[in-house]
């Protein structure tokens, strides 16, 4: 029996592959966060002002807030369908540390819903007239910030996986927690615009990301065990 047992890394890879496969088959999981992001961002020129000077000032903030909302809403399905079809129980009964399996699910979720949003953000930054010198910083902050959001959101989703309607409760739990990310993300862009170095903020976000990667999956795993009870 021991000869046939898997290593944890194999289980990690299998879980990652499976979640990506499901996302590819469902398509909506990939397209919707992306569409939501674009639609929400394009509400701002309509609601606030279509003048390019005004837009420039609010561009970074608007993009960041929309990313926050999109990534929060896309969390909804992270564990839900697994919970409903019983796959989550199988995950919990695996002999491997739940930490890594949860991490695999989080990574796959970010690849599917966070990354496309980050990739399309320069286009929207252009539409909102963000000065070109800030693109690099914006993308970097988003690259660091969206995984943090996914990791935090994962805890909230894991806590509420058994609930019927959760859209809003998720928001009420995760949005306050994402304030620090929002602050550093926008500050970094702002300081680039003021020709200052954003490195300080970026490294702070990096620290936050590493803390989140090492702690959040633990909390998610505990939350899943609580919810499946």
């Amino acid at each position: 029996m021991s000869a046939k047992q898997t290593t944890t890394s194999a289980a990690f890879l299998a879980t990652l592959k499976r979640d990506l496969l499901i996302a590819i088959k469902k398509k909506n999981d990939i397209v919707n966060p992306f569409m939501f992001f674009i639609i929400v961002v394009s509400l701002f020129p309509i609601g606030i002002s279509p003048e390019s000077d005004r837009l420039r000032e609010i561009a970074a903030g608007v993009i960041w807030i929309s990313v926050l909302l999109a990534s929060m809403l896309s969390m909804d399905n992270l564990y839900r369908s697994d919970y409903e079809d019983g796959s989550l129980e199988q995950l919990l009964l695996s002999p491997h540390p739940l930490f890594f399996l949860v991490l695999a699910k989080n990574i796959s979720h970010w690849l599917v819903s966070g990354l496309p949003v980050v990739l399309v953000s320069p286009l929207l930054a252009y539409m909102l007239n963000l000065p070109a010198q800030a693109y690099g910083t914006l993308i970097l902050t988003l690259l660091l910030g969206t995984p943090i959001m996914s990791l935090i959101g994962s805890i909230a989703v894991a806590l509420t996986v058994g609930l019927g309607s959760r859209g809003l409760i998720l928001a009420v739990i995760t949005l306050p927690m994402s304030v620090p990310v929002l602050i550093f993300g926008t500050l970094a862009v702002q300081s680039t615009l003021n020709s200052l170095s954003p490195l300080g903020y970026l490294s702070l976000m990096l620290v936050m990301l590493s803390v989140a990667i090492s702690l959040a999956p633990l909390a998610s795993a505990a939350a899943l065990r609580i919810s499946v009870n």
């Binding site: 805890i155 009420v172 927690m177 304030v179 609580i226 009870n229």
Partner: protein, 247 residues
């Protein structure tokens, strides 16, 4: 030690003990509250620049200081719930979240009333204490709504315990990041602790008495609510039945 700990966790034991303490705590609360209020309202000399609005400050500072105690309290209660599965800790945590939301709200309200005198505006985003208190209120409401959404009480207990622990860490991070963000936007915060120094010692003694009074109030109210919770959750046990029959 362990025996004592598990005895403390027994709701019945707590109910009886708190029943004995409650009159004393209530009496102390009434005394401190009366002294604080009478002194504060009648005797406190006007502030050299703020006039009689310093009467707002003693209430505000007492409530604001006390409301910072809730997340640590819930952190401890949450850890006990998760690690030792003690039901009593959850009963405390449940009511602490609700009471904490009240405290945060009153801090915000009294602070605004003060601000409208001092800065001429009820709300100011450029102040870090205001913003981080607002988000503390949001997080507490998140904990409360998570509990009301989960129907199974045991799951709710553990889920809220976990969320309080995560939330406590977050309150700290939010507080520091908001503070830092504000110092970058505006050099001087409108709430400056320095401005209090010209005030005489009376002011600080009055405030201190109010702080003690508010802490006593916090414990009385929390104990009352926890006792109700115990009665509801243990309603099927014999001792509650006996108690109900006697009353």
């Amino acid at each position: 030690m362990w025996l004592w700990f598990s005895k403390l966790g027994s709701p019945k034991w707590f109910y009886e003990l708190s029943g004995r303490w409650l009159p004393w705590l209530t009496a102390a609360m009434i005394i401190f509250m009366t002294i604080g209020l009478v002194w504060g309202l009648l005797f406190l000399p006007p502030d050299y620049q703020q006039g009689f609005t310093s009467r707002i400050l003693i209430v505000h500072v007492a409530v604001a200081g006390t409301s910072l105690a809730f997340f640590p309290l819930m952190f401890v209660a949450g850890t006990i719930t998760l690690v030792w599965k003690m039901k009593l800790a959850d009963m405390v945590a449940k009511n602490a979240a609700i009471l904490g939301a009240w405290f945060s709200f009153v801090t915000l309200a009294t602070g605004s009333l003060w601000g409208s005198v001092m800065w001429g505006t009820w709300w100011e985003w450029t102040d870090s204490r205001l913003v981080s208190m607002l988000f503390q209120l949001f997080l507490l409401i998140g904990v409360i709504s998570l509990r009301s959404a989960l129907e199974d009480s045991e799951t709710a207990a553990k889920a809220c315990a976990l969320l309080s622990i995560v939330g406590c860490i977050n309150v700290v991070i939010i507080k520091y990041s908001v503070e830092w963000w504000n110092t970058l936007h505006q050099a001087s915060s409108p709430i400056s602790t320095d401005s209090s120094s010209p005030n005489g010692p009376e002011f600080w003694i009055a405030t201190l008495i109010m702080i003690v009074a508010v802490y006593l109030f916090l414990s009385v109210s929390l104990i009352l609510a926890t006792r109700n919770e115990i009665l509801e959750r243990e309603r099927r046990s014999q001792w509650v039945r006996d108690l109900v029959l006697k009353s």
